[in-house]
C-alpha cells in the first residue's frame, strides 16, 4: 500500500534520511524504532506530505506522492489520520470541534450529525462527557485520546502515530497502546508508528523496523525481535551503550 524507495532528506548539511526503503502492506501496523534524533518523525512527515524529499519515491498504491502538487496532497490526505507527538490540539476550540473539524470543513453533515459522530469517536477512545471542554482543561492522556479521535474522525485508511506514548506515565501509555491495538483490530486500518518506546512497539506492531544513520538497518516481528541476530536491533532493544550504534558524548 505504501512504499518508500530510496528516500533522501537533508536539512542544510545534515543528512537525516539517506536512502530509506520500506514497504507497508495494507492492514498491517509497522513500527519504526530508533534513537532520538535519527529522523523518525521526519520520515513520518514525508508520508503525509508535510515534508518533500530531496530524492527517492513515496508510492501510495503505485502513485509517486513525492511529485504530488499541494492540491493532490490535499486530496490524498483524506486517506490519512495523524496523531502528533504533542497531540497538537487546536487550543482555541473545544474538544468536539477539534475532533469534528475535518467533518465541519469537508462534509455537508449538520452540526447535530457531526456532534453525534464525534461522540462516537470519543467513546471509541474511552472518553465521554468531555466534548465541551477546552484542551487546556485536559490531562496529557486525555489530550492524546482526543487527538486520536480526531485522527480517526473521517475513518481513514492509514493512520500515522508520532511517538504515541511520549510524555505519558507507563499506565496511561499502556492504555494508549491498547487503544491502538483495538483500533487496528476494529477498523482494519494500516498504521505506521514511530517510537523509541520498545514496550509500546512490542504491543502494537505487526513488524518492527529500525532507522539508523538515515537507513532501515533491521527488521523483525515482535515474536522474533528478542532473538534476532541483527546487531543494531539487539543493541537497541537491550538498551546497551556499546555496539554498532556509536554513542558520542555530544549525544548525551
Amino acid at each position: 500500500m505504501i512504499e518508500l524507495v530510496g528516500l533522501r532528506k537533508a536539512f542544510g548539511s545534515q543528512r537525516v534520511l539517506d536512502g530509506v526503503t520500506l514497504s507497508i502492506r495494507r492492514g498491517e501496523t509497522v513500527v519504526v524504532i530508533g534513537r532520538s534524533g535519527t529522523g523518525k518523525s521526519v520520515l513520518l512527515k514525508h508520508l503525509v506530505g508535510l515534508l518533500r524529499p530531496d530524492g527517492g519515491q513515496i508510492l501510495l498504491d503505485g502513485e509517486n506522492a513525492a511529485e504530488f502538487t499541494p492540491e493532490e496532497w490535499q486530496r490524498a490526505r483524506a486517506r490519512f489520520g495523524v496523531l502528533f507527538q504533542s497531540a497538537a490540539l487546536f487550543d482555541s476550540m473545544p474538544v468536539w470541534e477539534n475532533v469534528g473539524l475535518a467533518l465541519l470543513e469537508h462534509t455537508r453533515m449538520s452540526r447535530k450529525e457531526i456532534r453525534a459522530t464525534v461522540e462516537g469517536k470519543l467513546e471509541l477512545v474511552g472518553l465521554t462527557g468531555v466534548a465541551h471542554r477546552m484542551p487546556s482543561e485536559l490531562s496529557g492522556g486525555m489530550k492524546k485520546r482526543v487527538a486520536l479521535a480526531r485522527a480517526i474522525a473521517r475513518d481513514p485508511e492509514i493512520v500515522l502515530y508520532d511517538e504515541p506514548t511520549a510524555g505519558l506515565d507507563p499506565i496511561t501509555g499502556d492504555m494508549i497502546n491498547l487503544l491502538l491495538v483495538r483500533l487496528r483490530d476494529h477498523l482494519k486500518i494500516t498504521a505506521v508508528a514511530v517510537t523509541h518506546d520498545m514496550a509500546s512497539a512490542m504491543k502494537i506492531a505487526d513488524r518492527i523496523c529500525m532507522l539508523h544513520d538515515g537507513k532501515i538497518v533491521g527488521e523483525a516481528t515482535p515474536s522474533t525481535i528478542q532473538t534476532t541476530d541483527n546487531p543494531y536491533l539487539r543493541q537497541f532493544i537491550r538498551g546497551e551503550a556499546h555496539g554498532p550504534i556509536e554513542v558520542f558524548e555530544r549525544d548525551i
Binding site: L50, A78, S86, F90, A102, E105
Partner: protein, 258 residues
C-alpha cells in the same frame, strides 16, 4: 572585509527570500478569497478582535492626538494665520494623516503582535501541521479571516478615531485657546472635502491589509519554540510599522500629487 561582504550577502539573500515568501502568501490569500463565505464565523470573531477590542485604546490615543495637534497647530499659526482656520488645519491633518496612521500604528502593536503570537504558537506546537493533515489549507482557515477583518475594521476604527480626535481638538480649542465652538466648527467645514475623508479611509484599509498580512506571515514562519514566537511577534510589529510609514508616503504621492 570579506566577512562583511559575506554578512551583507547573507542578509540580502534572507531579505529577498522573505519578500518572495510574503508575496506568495499574498497571492495565496487572493486565491482563497472565497473562504470568506465559508468562514463567516471566523471572520466575525477576528473583526471583534481587531476592531471592537481595540476601541478603548483608539479612544485614548485619539483624544490625545486631537489635543496635541491642536496645541501645536495653534502654536505654529497664531501670529500668521487667523485662528478661525484652526479647525481647517487640524481637521484636515487628522482626517488625511493623523487618524489613519496613528490608528494603524497602535493596532499594529496590539493586533499585529497578537496575530503573530497566536499563529506562531500554533506553528511551533504543530497545530498548523495538524490542519494540513486534516486537508485544511492553513492560509484559507487562519489567514484569510484575519486579512478580511483587518481590511474592514481599520477604516471603521479610523472613522471612530477621526470623530474622537476632532472632539479632543474642539475641547482644547474652546477651553484653552479662546476659539469658540462655532468658530472651530466653521473652520472645520470651510475646506472640508469628502475626498480627504475617503483618502484617509483608503489608507486605513491598506494599512489593515499590511498589519494582518505581516502578522500572519511572521506567525506562520515562527521557529524555535517560545523564543522564536517572541522574535516573530517583535518582527511583526516592527515590519508592519515601517511598512505602514512607507505605504503612507506612496499613497500620499499617488493621491495628493499636484
Amino acid at each position: 572585509m570579506g566577512r562583511l561582504i559575506s554578512l551583507l550577502g547573507h542578509y540580502l539573500v534572507v531579505s529577498v527570500d522573505a519578500v518572495g515568501r510574503f508575496t506568495l502568501l499574498c497571492l495565496e490569500v487572493l486565491g482563497n478569497w472565497t473562504a470568506i463565505f465559508r468562514s463567516r464565523g471566523r471572520v466575525v470573531d477576528q473583526m471583534m478582535f481587531v476592531g471592537v477590542a481595540s476601541l478603548p485604546l483608539i479612544l485614548l490615543t485619539s483624544i490625545f492626538v486631537g489635543a496635541v495637534s491642536t496645541w501645536q497647530t495653534a502654536y505654529q499659526i497664531k501670529n500668521y494665520v487667523p485662528m478661525r482656520y484652526l479647525g481647517t488645519a487640524v481637521g484636515r491633518a487628522i482626517v488625511i494623516e493623523l487618524a489613519p496612521v496613528l490608528t494603524a500604528l497602535v493596532v499594529a502593536g496590539r493586533v499585529g503582535a497578537g496575530m503573530a503570537a497566536e499563529l506562531g504558537s500554533m506553528k511551533v506546537t504543530e497545530q498548523v501541521d495538524a490542519l494540513d493533515t486534516l486537508a485544511i489549507n492553513p492560509v484559507r482557515f487562519l489567514v484569510v479571516p484575519r486579512v478580511v477583518a483587518g481590511f474592514i475594521m481599520l477604516p471603521i476604527l479610523t472613522i471612530f478615531s477621526d470623530i474622537i480626535a476632532i472632539g479632543g481638538a474642539l475641547v482644547v480649542s474652546v477651553l484653552f485657546l479662546g476659539v469658540s465652538q462655532e468658530t472651530f466648527i466653521s473652520g472645520l467645514k470651510l475646506f472640508f472635502r469628502p475626498s480627504d475623508l475617503l483618502a484617509g479611509l483608503f489608507k486605513a484599509s491598506m494599512f489593515g491589509l499590511i498589519i494582518s498580512l505581516v502578522g500572519c506571515y511572521q506567525g506562520l514562519h515562527a521557529v524555535g519554540g517560545a523564543e522564536g514566537v517572541g522574535r516573530s511577534t517583535t518582527r511583526a510589529v516592527v515590519v508592519a510599522s515601517v511598512t505602514i510609514l512607507i505605504a503612507d508616503y506612496l499613497i500620499a504621492v499617488l493621491l495628493f500629487r499636484q
